[in-house]
């Protein structure tokens, strides 16, 4: 069931191209804006991690805002509710869809970041991928929940970011702190390479907690 829903989501996105190209383009434009706003040609360390994560987070907001719009406007919710299936399937399918969007976004944005802002990548790439995956899962869980909450409000484009930014602060803390040593030229200041396990644990805990919460409350957003 989840596979069918996921296939439908990805097929719709492939035909309409409403979210992922916009998110990627937004990320690249934001790097250019950061170049001029900060007046730097190359970034490293905390500054690089901050710019990367702010950009990824704001690009993710675009995807979060659009995630349920087609369902609300074109009767996707009604169609889904008429079908005799578990409602959690929609949550999981939507969260996986958002995670896939974020994955594609990062495949474009991270190399663009390395190219445009000259952040040294390479020695920390594997660690960065781990951080990205863990952060994506958390953003996907919270993003799906917030998107479903915001889609029935009058100013839905406003409430998506307004709700998710404070909720995602722990993700930003964990991800930015974990990727900061990976993006500095001298490598990890404390010795061995790779992200600090503390931050990976924080990200993992966040994913677990909000995954469970989303699972627990999502049903209540669907009944009508």
């Amino acid at each position: 069931m989840i596979r069918t829903l996921l296939k439908k989501e990805l097929l719709v996105e492939r035909r309409t191209l409403e979210s992922v190209p916009g998110m990627s383009l937004f990320a690249v434009s934001t790097f250019v804006v950061f170049h001029f706003a900060l007046n730097r040609t190359a970034l490293e360390g905390d500054l690089a991690a901050g710019v990367l994560w702010v950009t990824l987070l704001f690009a993710a907001m675009l995807g979060v805002n659009r995630l349920f719009v087609a369902d609300a406007e074109q009767g996707g919710f009604d169609g889904f509710l008429l079908a005799p299936v578990d409602r959690t399937a929609l949550l999981i399918a939507k969260a996986l869809t958002l995670a896939a969007y974020l994955g594609v976004l990062e495949i474009v944005a991270v190399p663009a970041f390395a190219l445009l802002l000259g952040a040294p990548l390479g020695h920390g790439l594997a660690g960065l991928v781990a951080v990205l995956v863990l952060a994506d899962l958390g953003i996907a869980a919270v993003g799906t929940l917030v998107s479903a909450l915001a889609v029935h409000t009058r100013a839905r484009d406003l409430f998506g970011p307004l709700l998710s930014l404070p909720l995602l602060v722990p993700i930003v803390i964990g991800a930015a702190r974990a990727s900061s040593p990976l993006l500095s030229a001298g490598g990890h200041p404390g010795g061995a390479g790779g992200p600090d396990v503390r931050w990976l644990l924080l990200l993992g805990l966040y994913d677990l907690v909000f995954g469970l919460i989303a699972y627990a409350v999502f049903d209540f957003l669907l009944e009508d």
Binding site: L145, L149, R154, F159, L162, P170, F210, L221
Partner: protein, 227 residues
Amino acid sequence: MQRALSLRFLSVVTVLAFCVSLSLVFFYAPIEAEEGFVQKIFYLHVPLAIVSLCGFVLGGIFAIAHLRTRESKWDLRSYVAIHMSLIFGVVTLVTGSIWAHASWGHWWVWSEPTLVSFLIVMLLYATYQPMRFAIEDPERQARYASVFAVVAGASVPMNFLAVRLSTSYLHPRVLGSSSNLPPSMRFTFLVSLISMALLFATLSLYELAAKRARISLKAKSRILGYR
């Protein structure tokens, strides 16, 4: 009638409790050696913060009850708890800012994790009312607001954990822990905490009563045909 009487009783108790706690703060508790008189804002700021956070959690618990039972009274309680906590939270931020300015010379310090986490929590809950009233259908409004209250309530400990982790390596905790207080200060603090909790309860009950009255008034005027 019973309700109005008990509300009056509670109001009187709250006023008395505040008289006691404020006299303790100003005349009984010793002046702190390093910070001087300004430290007395501690007896206002910390109880406000604790009561406000408890109110947010309480709002989440009422919201769970609403989602389970579908009774609108639980939604009303959850709304009032969060609304009152927001007001207490704003005062917490203001008093915290004053205290920070007095003891560290800055109106805002990023090195104090509790204050920073509190700001994040406030930013999140500040969207509760706008989001709630941007939904038109009243039944859906109550349901979505409850989901919000549950999610936000769960994010409170997560926020505190993450912010604490991000600062604890650099700055040891100096203020705010009540475990190493001298007994006279701890006693004053506890009385202040109790009176603040009473104030929260009284104000919440007043708001609940006002909301109930408005709802029944609306229902009656609808029966009579007024708009």
